[in-house]
């Protein structure tokens, strides 16, 4: 009992003296929680994976795929292909994209933007 109290007292004091700066868990934890996307996918990582998904699309010529391409304008796809691409991206990033948003994603840029900003992308 006495030992326990002593240990607890010790622990309490330890926490008090350490503070936020010296406790690595707290430091990274609190800063992480405050920031927006640091623990999220980086834009680069999203871009790489988006490009990879598009390049693997059977109707696409991979050599024409750049981060700026429009699916229909530049890659010669139709609007149904557009739907298929967005769904492939959903599977890649484990998202479900509502129709209203999906209809707007018709280029690589927009896809990267949307996915990067989505809190649940993984």
């Amino acid at each position: 009992m006495a030992l326990r109290a002593a240990v607890l007292r010790h622990v309490r004091v330890a926490v008090q003296t350490r503070g936020l700066e010296s406790n690595p868990w707290f430091t990274s934890g609190s800063i992480r929680l405050m920031s927006s996307h640091d623990d999220h996918l980086t834009k680069e990582e999203v871009a790489d994976r988006v490009l990879s998904v598009i390049k693997s699309f059977p109707k696409v010529d991979p050599s024409r795929v750049t981060p700026e391409v429009h699916f229909q304008k530049d890659l010669g796809l139709d609007s149904l292909d557009n739907v298929e691409i967005v769904m492939a991206l959903e599977e890649e990033f484990k998202l479900e994209i509502p129709d209203k948003e999906a209809d707007k994603i018709d280029s690589c840029n927009l896809a990267i933007e949307y996915i990067h900003n989505h809190p649940l992308s993984s």
Binding site: L80, V83, D99, D103
Partner: protein, 100 residues
């Protein structure tokens, strides 16, 4: 399929419905077996594109009919009682060839 050759075109309400239906079929197929999924996607893809080529995009009445029919078929696909794909194929081919 509609004005897909142009630049960033705004989709008409009807086009959105068509794309939404297409998306619905693709979503439904995800929950099936890999083989069924391939079959469904291949079939639905061919069907939508065929209609897009053959049907006059101003023929709203017929397109609305196709949308209604498609929605019912999608409901069947999503229903747990649906037995398999062969019945779906029969339905499609029966009403094929809209020679207007």
């Amino acid at each position: 399929m509609g004005p897909t050759t142009g630049g960033r075109t705004r989709l008409s309400g009807m086009q959105k419905q068509v794309l939404s239906l297409y998306r619905g079929f693709l979503r439904a197929s995800r929950s099936k077996s890999p083989e069924d999924r391939r079959q469904i996607e291949s079939f639905v893809s061919a069907e939508f594109r065929r209609n897009s080529k053959q049907v006059d995009h101003k023929n709203f009445i017929y397109i609305e009919y196709l949308l209604r029919r498609g929605k019912k078929q999608l409901e069947q696909l999503n229903s747990p009682d649906t037995v398999g794909l062969s019945s779906m194929n029969v339905t499609f081919s029966e009403t094929e060839n809209p020679k207007n």
